[in-house]
């Protein structure tokens, strides 16, 4: 496929790996923030191509994984209300909440439907005018504008039974929290390519400026990632710290202004709960007052009960880059993709699921 196959050429990959081996003299730990990058790195065996000077750690960039039980329980409670159809991306279905997953709620009679897009959720609303359709709004800056567009479209078409449970999260604020915690020391950051397609490269500049950590915005094919690592190594060797874009075919420094304007029109920033991290100020999005009739939290009366975390699950530490899935006693024993204990084993781009599928030999 065009714009994919060219970036998987093994001859160019080997050449990039050789260049990285030659140029990397300083020990460096790079975080790939995005779960999509974690999957690509493990799937294409990129770690084996890198010199021993370079360590890669996975970050919290998996929206399903960072959704706290506090919020997941709300979705389950909403799904169990009579007359409600809960529409969700498929990844959320098997995440065990405090007392039930959405899948278990569905087995118990709740009307939970998997959708591929917010437009599908709106279609369900059009076809079921006597029921209320709640769309579980999960995702980072990549996804939030699509939900904003759906809210605007529902407003224009006067779809009155469409609601959003907005659990969207913003990436730059949580990186600041991770860096301030001092728990994980980073020498470089591979910035998420599709979040950056929306927000551009400027929101990452504080990382280079305030923390002197080089940043490269990367695409998701193996050559994209190797090129990004090469660019990070070049900055490290020169003692530089700036934000560069490797993924130039998809990302502009100013981002997608149409998408940003729509997102800002419909949503305003708010604090958000991150699993394993806690409440991060200004890292969530809620519907603005003028769109509050679409807000599922305001429209329905429900009690989601106290949130409980599963004992022994290390998802929180893994999301902070402090531990790897191999450090977790439950990994691949009690916790598997078929019977996941934590969300990092549920989501296809969760670190645990990616290690389970592709990374059995990594420590």
């Amino acid at each position: 496929m065009k714009f994919i196959d060219e970036y998987r050429r093994s001859d160019l990959g080997k050449a990039l790996a050789r260049k990285i081996h030659r140029s990397s003299t300083k020990k460096a730990r790079f975080m790939e923030f995005c779960g999509g990058h974690t999957v690509a790195i493990l799937k294409h065996g990129i770690r084996q191509l890198l010199p021993p000077t370079i360590e890669m750690v996975s970050g919290p960039g998996c929206p399903v994984c960072v959704t706290d039980n506090v919020d997941l329980d709300k979705a389950v409670a909403l799904a169990q209300l009579p007359g409600v159809i809960l529409a969700t991306f498929g990844d959320m279905l098997k995440v065990p909440g405090s007392r039930s997953s959405l899948q278990e709620a569905k087995a118990g009679g709740a009307d939970v439907r998997i959708v591929y897009s917010a437009t599908d959720a709106m279609e369900i609303a059009r076809k079921n005018p006597t029921q209320s359709v709640v769309f579980l709004g999960i995702g980072f800056e990549t996804t939030a504008p699509t939900i904003a567009a759906s809210v605007r479209q529902a407003e224009q078409e006067s779809i009155r039974n469409y609601y959003v449970l907005s659990l969207h999260k913003l990436c730059p604020p949580v990186i600041r929290v991770l860096l301030d915690s001092g728990e994980v020391k980073l020498d470089g950051l591979i910035c998420p390519g599709h979040v950056s397609a929306i927000i551009g490269s400027r929101p990452w500049e504080f990382i280079a400026r305030d923390y002197h950590i080089p940043c490269v915005v990367s695409g998701f094919e193996p050559l994209d990632i190797l090129q990004s690592v090469d660019m990070l190594v070049a900055q490290i060797e020169n003692g530089d710290a700036r934000v560069e874009i490797a993924y130039r075919r998809g990302v502009h420094s100013e981002g997608n202004q149409t998408a940003l304007a729509l997102m800002n029109q419909v949503f305003e920033v708010c604090p958000a709960w991150w699993r394993g991290i806690g409440v991060v100020p200004n890292s969530g999005l809620k519907l603005r007052p003028e769109f509050e009739r679409f807000d599922a939290e305001l429209a329905f009366d429900f009690d989601s009960g106290p949130a409980i975390e599963h004992k022994g699950c290390l998802c929180g530490e893994i999301l902070r880059g402090v531990k790897t899935p191999k450090d977790c006693k439950l990994f691949a024993t009690v916790c598997t993709p078929e019977r996941p204990v934590g969300p990092c084993m549920v989501s296809s781009e969760g670190s645990c699921a990616a290690y389970y599928l592709y990374g059995a030999s990594y420590g």
Partner: protein, 75 residues
């Protein structure tokens, strides 16, 4: 979850496009990329085109990678 794949726009009607991904036809919502035209590749994420692929930048990146490979050969 932030997965987005390049899709070729075949036709546009209002704010919706018919796109092709590896021979398969899908619908793409163009609310976020109203400037997209037939023949453009867009990054498709959950049914929405979130960015237009820049073919010139794509070519430049590949050229750069090929130059790196040539240099690696010489050394």
């Amino acid at each position: 979850m932030c997965l987005a794949i390049p899709a070729l726009i075949k036709s546009i009607s209002d704010k919706e496009a018919e796109v092709e991904i590896g021979g398969i036809s899908r619908r793409a919502n163009l609310w976020l990329t109203p400037e997209a035209k037939v023949g453009d590749y867009v990054l498709l994420h959950t049914g929405y085109a979130i960015s237009i692929v820049d073919p010139e930048e794509a070519k430049e990146t590949l050229k750069l990678l090929e130059e790196i490979a040539e240099l690696a050969e010489e050394e």
